[in-house]
């Protein structure tokens, strides 16, 4: 039994830790322990305080209040070096790798640096790298550069690298997001091996089935508070979900838009992009929110990119309001009234240095311009004020740079940028990734409001509650194809979870609609 952990030695103890950011509570009086050789899971929705906790343990953020004990040593304020010294290693989602260097160097260089040597023996580096890779049973060539590898391989390398250090606790931040089922099984096997060696793991995730499978004890955060700390054996996924999301949201109360009968707003036929997706056909009606979900590599992102002209499809047809259109460039998509809100709002969606006002009007600058091409200041001001109010963006002045806003407000600002420009179709790619719970709900109701006004919305996401709260219909993609279709009223979160993570061979029949793919006549777009 895992009960032996009760008497086991504590590796890490966090006591009454609180942390605020600019008045917002990120962590509120959190205490927990991690024992030696224990697999601990930290679960929570985006914005629940998981990342803040990781950063406090790694010594990056000092806590406002509270104490930390590692290996019996007391720390009021931990530094990154002290944390590493105590044997704590974090695998961040960015993997901490050098894109321009080889696999061998990425894995092997740490040991060389910590040994204090100044001259490099490449044989040693290759030996270390081989050793590291053997620890994760991965077969990756040692002399290719990192940038040529897939995300999954990079993740494996990041793990291999950490395993070479003298670690006592490995913190993995959403380690399975980028991995396929088989690689996840590798990872879990490795994690169990490490546990045998007495190494502790803090596994941060929101994939509850994985948590259930791997962890000894589960810790659930919600809105910065610890809401559950219990042995995983005694938990089922439903309970975890309940604690993770708080009270079950009664979906019957949500005012979904009624989808209009009649001709589809957007019709996609046999759309194919090599290495992306194939033979994708679906329709989107006015006032409809259509969810597209699937695991990483399922092709959902590529599909969204294609519809927006960023990665034009190789073949297939796209109709908007019954007319065939060609979307080869982003400008084509914009011309046809398609908008796109990216997941990485900071990287892709905003001019962070520019003012909030300028970010709002950037898409409709043509309409605001007078005949000689000058922007009418008054008109601009009106539009800006209208949208700031409509989206509830909290800022003292619309002239502040967009970068000064919090994550949720930035996301709403990106939305406004598109919404202000009279779109027919809006594609949202993971609209609430990294957004706090409050903003999340606001964004969801905004999405539904937009649909009600007649817009057709495509929402790609792997966040099941999000899909349930916003979509009328959900398409599931796997291996680049649409494999199932769910009507929201006839499905539930559990079923969606199950189908999302199911293996390819897995077949369930409820609500399953085979998407026809008989039409082989795929003409090239243009």
């Amino acid at each position: 039994m895992i009960l032996k952990d009760r008497t086991a030695e504590e590796l890490l103890s966090v006591k009454n830790v609180s942390k605020h950011f600019a008045g917002v509570i990120a962590l509120d009086d959190v205490s927990f322990t991690i024992n030696r050789g224990e697999i601990r899971c930290l679960v929570g929705e985006n914005g629940s305080g998981k990342s803040t906790m990781i950063k406090i343990i790694a010594g990056i953020y000092p806590p406002d209040e509270g104490d930390i004990y590692i290996n019996g040593h007391y720390y009021k304020r931990l530094t990154p070096i002290a944390s590493i010294h105590e044997g704590i290693q974090v695998i961040y989602q960015d993997f901490s790798l050098f894109p321009n260097l080889t696999v061998a160097e990425n894995i092997g260089i740490n040991q060389l640096i910590s040994s204090g040597k100044k001259i490099i023996n490449w044989k040693d580096i290759y030996k270390t790298a081989k050793e590291g890779l053997s620890k994760v049973s991965a077969d990756i060539p040692l002399d290719v550069t990192m940038e040529k590898l897939s995300t999954a391989d990079r993740q494996i390398i990041a793990i291999a690298k950490v395993l070479l250090e003298d670690v006592k606790l490995i913190i993995m931040d959403e380690p399975t997001t980028a991995l396929t089922q088989r690689e996840i099984q590798y990872l879990f096997k490795t994690i169990n091996d490490l546990k045998e060696q007495g190494i502790s793991i803090l596994f941060v995730s929101h994939k509850l089935n994985e948590v259930k499978e791997i962890s000894d004890r589960t810790l659930i955060f919600r809105n910065g508070k610890k809401v559950l700390d219990q042995e995983t054996k005694a938990l089922d996924i439903k309970t975890m979900e309940y604690y993770m999301t708080g009270r079950e949201i009664d979906t019957s109360l949500i005012a979904y838009s009624k989808v209009e009968k009649g001709p589809p707003l957007l019709k996609v036929e046999n759309l194919t992009l090599s290495h992306g997706f194939s033979d994708v056909s679906f329709e989107l009606r006015p006032k409809e929110v259509l969810g597209i979900t699937g695991l990483l590599g399922s092709g959902r992102m590529e599909l969204a990119f294609s519809l927006f002209g960023e990665m034009p499809a190789d073949s297939g047809k796209i109709y908007i309001e019954g007319k065939e259109v060609f979307i080869i460039r982003i400008q084509d998509a914009i011309k046809h009234g398609i908008g796109y809100v990216p997941e990485d709002r900071i990287g892709e969606g905003l001019f962070l240095e520019q003012s909030i006002a300028d970010n709002i009007v950037v898409r409709l600058i043509d309409r605001l311009a007078s005949k000689i091409g000058l922007v009418k200041d008054r008109a601009k001001q009106d539009v800006v004020e209208e949208w700031i109010k409509k989206l509830d963006i909290k800022t003292p002045s619309s002239e502040n740079p967009a970068g000064s806003l919090s994550g949720g407000n930035q996301q709403r600002l990106v939305l406004s940028k598109w919404l202000a420009s009279n779109l027919k179709i809006l594609i949202l790619n993971g609209p609430t990734v990294g957004v706090d719970v409050g903003s999340k709900i606001a964004i969801h109701s905004l999405i539904r409001d937009l649909a009600k006004q007649g817009m057709g919305i495509i929402l790609t996401s792997d966040d099941i509650p999000e899909l349930m709260w916003t979509c009328n219909r959900i398409l599931l993609m796997r291996r680049g194809r649409i494999v199932e279709e769910f009507q929201r009223e006839q499905t539930n979160k559990e079923e969606l979870y199950e189908h999302l993570v199911a293996n390819n061979k897995h077949s369930s029949t409820i609500n399953r609609v085979k998407i026809n793919s008989k039409c082989k006549d795929s003409r090239r777009v243009r």
């Binding site: 894109p99 321009n100 260097l101 690689e183 290495h275 680049g480």
Partner: protein
């Protein structure tokens, strides 16, 4: 073997050969030992400075002040030794100039690490500063008074050959410096923590810090080396031309950077090789010189060199874009349907 053929250095070498052959066909006098020696000699100092530029580019920075350091160190050393009525050979010139270059590099390192500034910004001022220093404190005119031991330096040859056109042509002794320095820098870049640190910083500075590279020390070392290399190039060039110039190499900084970029270094950091840099400098030199031989007017030369630069810069950029695109849509292997 395939790797070799695909490497940028090999492609550059091939182009270098092709260009040389093409020019030789147009004008057979291009194809001679004297031309070869001449090209080596005139590109040599640029190669030496290019190694400094290479290191800075690999680290993801740009520095333009090295030319001014070359001018300051060589000219100040010369004027100082003239005052002391020095009569010996070039060795003492090197010793003093290298020390000055080292100090100038360290001072720049201090400014950059202390105030956490990008090298490019500082180098803008640093360049003007040292040219100004020369003109204001040391002297504003070219100086042709050489100490006795230096007079014959320009004609100290390693190898001499008979040449039908110019009579006798020689490979200057300074080619030894180039070989020694090139091997040393190659070794630094490949086999030392300092060298790998440059690539790491250029690849991802944040991760480099997290990994434990001493970014400060690497920056100091790099800039000290840039100073030293500039000093060597300055003294060597002055030795060749038998004159010391307070504004030596002025305006040449971008040519050297361009050559290193042609040689495969990335302006955004993390990439570049010693061999590539040498070939880049040589290619520009061959183009410059060869176009004269081929009878192309001087006005056109600049254009041709400019075009070559644009072409060479766009090749890796296009390749990178393709790679990025294929990465974007990379589907894990087992998820891919045949």
């Amino acid at each position: 073997m395939k790797k070799l053929v695909n490497s940028r250095e090999f492609v550059l070498f091939l182009i270098l050969v092709l260009v040389s052959v093409a020019i030789s066909i147009k004008n057979s006098s291009f194809f001679s030992a004297s031309t070869l020696f001449d090209i080596i000699r005139s590109s040599l100092v640029y190669c030496i400075m290019a190694f400094g530029v290479l290191m800075v580019l690999i680290s993801g920075n740009v520095d333009i002040s090295f030319v001014a350091i070359a001018a300051m160190t060589s000219y100040s050393t010369h004027m100082l030794l003239l005052k002391l009525v020095y009569t010996g050979d070039i060795t003492l010139y090197f010793v003093i100039a290298i020390s000055m270059g080292l100090l100038a590099g360290l001072l720049m390192g201090f400014i950059i690490t202390q105030f956490n500034l990008p090298i490019f910004y500082v180098s803008l001022g640093y360049m003007t500063l040292w040219y100004g220093f020369n003109l204001f404190f040391i002297g504003a005119t070219m100086n042709f008074d050489l100490p006795e031991g230096m007079v014959g330096y320009y004609a100290r040859f390693l190898v001499k050959v008979r040449d039908p056109v110019v009579g006798e042509a020689g490979l200057h002794i300074s080619v030894i410096y180039l070989v020694v320095i090139a091997v040393f820098i190659w070794w630094l870049l490949k086999y030392t923590i300092f060298g790998r640190g440059l690539y790491a910083i250029g690849g991802n500075r944040e991760v480099a810090i997290r990994t434990g590279y001493n970014v400060k020390r690497i920056t100091y070392t790099m800039l000290a080396l840039v100073g030293i290399l500039a000093a060597i190039a300055g003294v060597t060039q002055s030795g060749y031309s038998r004159s010391f110039n307070p504004v030596l190499f002025m305006g040449k900084e971008l040519d050297v950077i361009a050559a290193v970029v042609i040689g495969g270094a990335s302006i955004t950091g993390g990439r570049g090789t010693v061999l590539g840099s040498i070939l880049g400098v040589m290619l520009i030199e061959v183009l410059n010189r060869g176009l004269i031989f081929a009878g192309i007017p001087a006005e056109w030369q600049k254009m041709v060199v400019g075009l070559a630069l644009i072409i060479f810069i766009s090749i890796p950029a296009i390749a990178e874009q393709r790679a990025k695109r294929s990465r974007y849509i990379a589907v894990p292997k087992e998820n891919r349907e045949e």
